[in-house]
Subunit: 109 residues, 2 copies
Amino acid sequence: MGITKSEIFTKEQNKLATMLKAIAHPARIAILQHLIKADACICGDLVEELGLAQATISQHLKELKNAGIIQGTVEGASVCYCINPKVWQQYKKELDALFGSYKGSTGCC
Amino acid sequence: MGITKSEIFTKEQNKLATMLKAIAHPARIAILQHLIKADACICGDLVEELGLAQATISQHLKELKNAGIIQGTVEGASVCYCINPKVWQQYKKELDALFGSYKGSTGCC
DNA sequence: AAGTATCATCGTAATATTGCGATATACTTG
DNA sequence: CAAGTATATCGCAATATTACGATGATACTT
């Protein structure tokens, strides 16, 4: 009834799903792309850049931070965000593994 | 208000998010992995394999089919599903582009 | 200390997702 | 054609997500 039955899946499957869910939102993709382009930026920049309310941006940043894919450092009154290189590479690796595991086939179609 | 403001994002960002959302669920990852391993299979196989109700599996299959990542062919009374190689490669390419666009940096951390 | 800027959290409303039983549809077999 | 098999769809209940205003917390400035 509306709750994902995570106990019937493997740890890997649940982890991958959580990972993908973290970046499966246009706002969060936009945030990541902006972080890549600008190297780093503060929350206020993203509010201006994306045109969403500050509370909304903060919430998305929190989810990305929970996923580990970004990290924030307090810098005076503001918080500077940037990509977490290690986690980024790990994401890349795991997605490569998933998408690389399919070698094509005749299937049934 | 609970509705994603897709109009403020680019077509690419929305497309990527939709793509990722399609596979951002452990059941759908499990389905894809089974399809990769078995080359092809019918809905009933997945019901047994995953331990979810038939209606639930059918719904997940529908979402994967909507995303274009799998395709089904009617085979008598049953429907045979398999990976769509073209779309699979496209997904792979777009994710490589996203994850390859980050070349590391000092960030701010 | 008071004021300002920046960000996080709370609470809420709207909407979306998840899972399933029941039922409908389509094909096969006797 | 009737009965069986396989899948899709409907309708519902439970839960999750999205967005935002209001408010709280923190740190810098004067």
